[in-house]
Symmetry: C2
Subunit: 149 residues, 2 copies
């Protein structure tokens, strides 16, 4: 049956971020539910943020749409223009190319959980707050001057 038993998928807190940016997402535990289903059209992750963890460094994608659906607990969605609280049932939409960095921060004292849906892009990911760029075509993180990590 297609109802997902999350316990059958091992969570990971792996990240490709170079330090010092990796530690901010050490409390981000995710399960790649799209991979478990062998999805081809898009990817999906079930993500738990422990208190203090962030979903990602604040970023935006040149070529990937993103959708977030809050399932449990509470997180703060941070963008250029402010902060909003996300609660269970809340939905956030991040269309590709919208040049407004976003991430979720768990500022509460309990875990929170959400599902994030996206497609593996090949383009550039921008991180407005830090000296980091994902060079999609070259498949590597770079400093903003183009030098590699």
């Amino acid at each position: 049956m297609p109802k997902l038993d999350l316990d059958t998928i091992e969570p990971t807190n792996r990240t490709g971020y170079p330090e010092p940016f990796a530690s901010d997402v050490a409390g981000r535990w995710y399960r790649r539910i799209g991979d478990a289903a062998e999805f081809k059209d898009f990817g999906a992750s079930h993500v738990v943020l422990t208190p203090g963890a962030t979903s990602a460094q604040r970023h935006w994608h040149e070529d990937e749409d993103e959708l977030v659906i809050m399932l449990a607990g509470e997180a703060v969605l941070v963008e250029d223009d402010g902060r909003e609280t996300m609660q269970p049932g809340d939905i956030a939409i991040f269309p590709m190319g919208a040049a407004n960095g976003h991430h979720l921060v768990n500022e509460s004292e309990a875990d929170c959980a959400f599902v994030a849906i996206g497609r593996q892009g090949t383009g550039v990911v921008h991180y407005p707050d830090i000296d980091l760029v994902w060079n999609g075509p070259a498949r590597r993180y770079e400093h903003k001057d183009g030098s590699p990590y």
Copy 2:
């Protein structure tokens, strides 16, 4: 801000099903949140089922992955091999080509709500219980003998 205010999107209960199959989804009220975001990578709908309504005729897609995330209330997921109850936070995965028709039925006495994610496919959709096939290449519903509705 990208947090979605569902009230800004008009719900519809439109369906392309021919009768007598349309009436089963008359209580399916959906908002195309992917279209509202001008998503290109995939589509997403926020769906409310009134008591007695179904999400769709039981079906499976040759060429579309589908993901359902339950938000509120309760629905019964029906497949070839049985029934499962979906409650808030539950996730169901339907990989393309898995020849096992599925749908959600609201057998409760209250509305239920979920988000469904998929991509507009061009292939065939099979309806095992009824005399209906979606002929994707021809963009029309047909009887199982290939004659059009």
